[in-house]
Symmetry: C2
């Protein structure tokens, strides 16, 4: 496989990845760019720089609902600014190292955000969540000895809630798994709703797995606080109206195609800031955005 094929392969993998959250995928992109920086054929730093810029921009376009990909890759491109003294080999090393440094920085930020969220949740509380987020999984791991209970909605179409429930079970956290349709019933048993984020928009609106907005509405209705926890790299400068919500293949839903009914499969929804009690990041908890 040549470099061009490897890039195409990675772009397809990124486009089709339904398992990883936005933060994990952004770090995967940085890893891939580090590899390309080290190995792409080039005869001068300018040529390699241009190829890396083009590739990074294609990665950003591939998952438009995931702000951290854009944020981290743009920040990485900024670090690559020309140094006229630099040789190709030095440029390769620096570009790869910067990608690794940003990836590590993002990982640490997510871990600190999770730590901050875990401190906000009291001993013995019941937490309801929706979708899979590695940051929220980390919050539960930190809470595993604090006698908390979890309510996890399955998150159709791909039921990633089941994956989270499985991990919580391994950590000994009593977990109840429900259909998304039962969120309105089970939010009443929860002390707090806590979700991750794919992106947080300019006004504080939350872009997350479709169904999150219903959880926020239901939490508000029974006066349970609704928190979002994610690292600051997930912040986007886009206003809610200009943000693209990714849609995936209708066939994922399993509806018999021959019926001719239009089937929609939008992966994310937008929860407005008025339904959010707090934004938790590595910087602490903000209650006003």
């Amino acid at each position: 496989m040549n470099y061009s094929q490897a890039q195409d392969e990675f772009l397809r993998e990124l486009s089709e990845d339904r398992r990883r959250g936005a933060g994990e995928l952004a770090r995967r992109c940085l890893e891939m760019l580090a590899e390309c920086a080290a190995q792409l054929p080039a005869s001068a730093p300018e040529e390699l720089h241009e190829d890396l810029r083009r590739l990074a921009e294609e990665l950003m376009r591939t998952r438009p609902s995931m702000a951290p990909i854009k944020t981290l890759l743009e920040r990485w491109l900024q670090t690559l600014a020309k140094n006229p003294e630099e040789k190709l080999k030095e440029f390769r090393t620096r570009a790869a190292e910067e990608a690794g440094r940003l990836s590590e920085f993002s990982l640490q930020a997510a871990a600190r955000a999770a730590g901050c969220a875990s401190e906000a949740i009291g001993e013995g509380q019941t937490v309801i969540t929706h979708g899979y987020s590695s940051t929220i999984a980390e919050v539960f791991r930190l809470l595993r000895n604090k006698d908390v209970m979890a309510i996890v909605s399955e998150a159709r179409p791909l039921l990633e809630g089941w994956r989270l429930a499985k991990r919580l079970q391994q950590w000994g956290i009593p977990t109840t798994c429900i259909t998304d349709a039962q969120i309105g019933l089970f939010v009443e048993l929860a002390d707090v709703a806590l979700v991750g984020a794919d992106s947080v928009l300019a006004d504080g609106s939350l872009v997350n797995k479709a169904g999150t907005r219903l959880l926020a509405l239901a939490a508000r209705e029974c006066e349970a606080p609704f928190y979002v926890c994610c690292e600051s790299f997930k912040r986007s400068s886009a206003p809610p109206g200009e943000f693209e919500l990714e849609e995936k293949e209708a066939k994922e839903l399993g509806f018999p195609e021959k019926l001719g009914v239009r089937v929609r499969n939008i992966y994310f929804d937008v929860t407005p800031p008025r339904l959010i009690s707090g934004w938790i990041s590595e910087e602490g908890i903000r209650t006003v955005y």
Copy 2:
């Protein structure tokens, strides 16, 4: 198969029926009681009356979330009041006829309620609904030439929304099918939310397929009216706190059992009257309950 086996068979069928709504099942119960009235072995009217009463009470207990079964069967039992002149054969005929008359009356009421709802929905409107209700299907049938569009959520676990979508498609109504998790996204495209009912409680609270409450919350959030349409037999005198919400087998959700996670499968939820814009029945539209 003897009569006792046939009754057990019917009770199991009633308990496991996930396809029919409350109104249809109540009418099935009346049919079955009419058959028993005509054929159960008995030597005197009193004996048959007692057997029918016991059977009717067992039917009511089998589906506690479905008020019309209780309402119609109690009404039927009232019509069976002793007539000392009556012979066994006359009693059999009268009991069977009363059951048929009530069933027909319920069917007509549902049809009139549907007619009333269809008049409330304007030409060219988009209607969002959740769950399967024969009354709501009838509303759409009446609207098939009024240029309306439908958004139907699938209604996990058994995806009865797909069944409704299929019927709407046959009537030429442009229909979009979504996961329950996307309700918050698609309610914004709807002019009105319209659902059927399993029961309407003493304070006007709506008992319907789990997820209905989320649709009502989302409709309120974007200022779309939320209507419930059902015949008056679905009214229950029970207050919300004393109403039993049926729970079915966890295995219907398909969650791998070996994980040991607790899986809940409550079929109905309760939508409080403050989220309901109007109650449509054969008597017309009430906007206050």
